[in-house]
């Protein structure tokens, strides 16, 4: 069933913040899979334990794009520890709410960010986030 989006969602969908790839990211998170139709990649740059930049690329519906955009906005400039408190609900709320069937997009956005932090931690400390397991296996390329 079609579900109208809030103005905030439409704004972030039509004018996504922080979209694009990042040169030499400190961490990369890739979540989602083509079966459910949403794939998110998030890139972060970290300096002094703070997320100084975040970017994303997303294949997905309006909510997937908007939540990616909002998630990057919410973590940018925050110390890692604080940024990790980001929940999918916070993303959805910041967007003025999401239709029930679209809440999974906000979960993906949260996970994409956490996957990026996890990647950063493994690279820098050799140990990832405790208890980190995204719903879907991160994806790289797949054959077309």
């Amino acid at each position: 069933m079609a579900q109208p989006y809030s103005d905030k969602v439409m704004d972030h969908f039509m004018h996504p913040r922080n979209v694009g790839e990042m040169e030499n990211p400190d961490g990369v998170g890739k979540v989602g899979n083509p079966i459910c139709g949403d794939i998110m990649e998030m890139y972060i740059k970290v300096k002094d334990n703070t997320i100084v930049d975040a970017k994303f690329k997303t294949f997905g519906c309006g909510a997937a794009i908007a939540t990616s955009s909002m998630a990057t906005e919410l973590v940018k400039g925050k110390p890692i520890e604080e940024a990790l408190k980001l929940t999918n609900k916070a993303v959805a709320e910041a967007l003025g709410g999401l239709p029930a069937v679209k809440m999974h997009c906000s979960v993906l956005a949260e996970e994409a960010f956490k996957a990026a932090v996890n990647d950063y931690l493994i690279k820098t400390t050799g140990k990832g986030l405790p208890d980190f397991k995204p719903h879907d296996e991160p994806l790289t390329e797949h054959g077309h």
Binding site: G20, E21, E41, K57, F59, C61, G62
Partner: protein
């Protein structure tokens, strides 16, 4: 803003003459057709006149037309009606993987109630193979249901050929003609079917009314149980304005002439946007249907962008339906999941103009480009 409606397979606007025909039957001629008094007799005549118009459009006799609340009820009525009336003979039903949910979900219901269902595959164009139908029929088979044309990819199935095989086996044959009625010529005798579903709102009639053609002699139990309306075949006070509207839509129906515009749109998209492809059969397809896969982008985000430019289209993508599965039809013709998620359906109508097509051909490429630039799948293809 310009508003361009290219979602005529989802529903069509009622034709002004259809609405005009319905008008008197709300408050003025409002009697219950089952009533013996003058108020009832005048609506009874209106219902019977509408029945004649439906019968004329599909080449049946009037007694073979039963009014319903739409395509879904017609499909459910046909399947459950035959299943429950003939289960003594067998409990096996043959259908295809690309039927409308009205058929598929009804089959799943029947499966839970002890019936066995064979879902036939289709080829890359969405065609059912008549020989596979033949092979699927066992001595337990009581019904075969194959749609006349698919609502997503527009493929028109070889119904007459399949019907011949099915009837040789002495099995009932139903076709869902919701997408073809009023657009293609239909003759139930030439098609050779026992049951045929149609729905008014798909061809400029009102929503909430349809019909089931039931060949004389076919053994069916009722779907709606109650009063003796429709000669005992479908209970409930007749939706008189709706039925009159369906009749009017049948009388107005014209074979679709939009194929050239559709072809222009198709060629425009395929030539202007790289990595796109046509879904469905190149020639055996509904004249108003175009379904294309646009790689690396997801359908809903395409739709939303089009909508913001006043263009209404549709997609087989998960996100519009509230389910996470992409179109079962696109998967059945072999599309990978991400392409199934990135398909667009444009369905033209009587009102579609060449300017509409030009407008879409201007609007779509930049949208695709923008979404691809955000897509993590696209980089791999650069």
């Amino acid at each position: 803003m310009k508003k361009i409606y290219l979602d005529n397979a989802a529903t069509t606007p009622a034709h002004p003459d259809v609405v005009l025909a319905m008008q008197p039957y709300f408050s003025d001629k409002f009697g219950n057709p089952s009533s013996i008094h003058a108020f009832g007799q005048e609506t009874r005549s209106a219902v019977e006149a509408a029945r004649e118009k439906v019968a004329r459009l599909i080449g049946s006799s009037v007694e073979e037309v039963v009014f319903t609340s739409g395509g879904t009820e017609s499909d459910n009525f046909a399947l459950e009606g035959v299943a429950f009336a003939n289960e003594g003979k067998g409990k096996h039903i043959v259908t295809s993987k690309i039927e409308h949910h009205a058929v598929l979900e009804c089959c799943e219901f029947l499966k839970k109630r002890g019936f066995e269902i064979t879902y036939l595959p289709v080829d890359q164009y969405g065609l059912v193979d008549p020989q596979q139908v033949k092979k699927a029929i066992t001595d337990q088979t009581i019904l075969v249901s194959i749609m006349h044309a698919n609502n997503e990819i527009g493929t028109v199935e070889p119904i007459a050929e399949i019907a011949k095989i099915v009837k040789e086996k002495g099995v009932y044959f139903h076709t869902d003609a919701v997408q073809t009625t009023g657009h293609l010529p239909i003759d139930v005798k030439e098609l050779g079917v026992d049951l045929l579903s149609l729905s008014a709102h798909k061809f400029y009639g009102p929503k909430g009314v349809g019909a089931l053609y039931i060949k004389k002699g076919a053994k069916l139990v009722s779907f709606l149980h109650g009063g003796g309306q429709e000669r005992g075949r479908r209970a409930s006070t007749e939706n008189v304005p709706g039925i009159v509207g369906l009749g009017a839509a049948c009388a107005l129906a014209q074979v679709s002439k939009v194929a050239p515009l559709r072809d222009k749109l198709m060629q425009g998209i395929l030539s202007r946007i790289p990595e796109t492809r046509l879904n469905g059969h190149p020639t055996l397809r509904l004249p108003n249907n175009l379904n294309v896969s646009i790689k690396y982008v997801e359908g809903e985000s395409l739709l939303l962008n089009l909508d913001l430019q006043g263009i209404a289209a549709s997609t087989g993508s998960a996100c519009t339906s509230g389910s996470l599965d992409p179109s079962h039809v696109l998967l059945a013709i072999g599309l990978p999941h991400e392409e199934a998620h990135g398909s667009l359906r444009f369905t033209l109508g009587q009102a579609t103009t060449e300017e509409d097509i030009d407008y879409v051909l201007e609007a779509l490429p930049p949208i695709v480009q923008k979404l691809r630039s955000m897509s993590p799948l696209y980089k791999g293809a650069k």
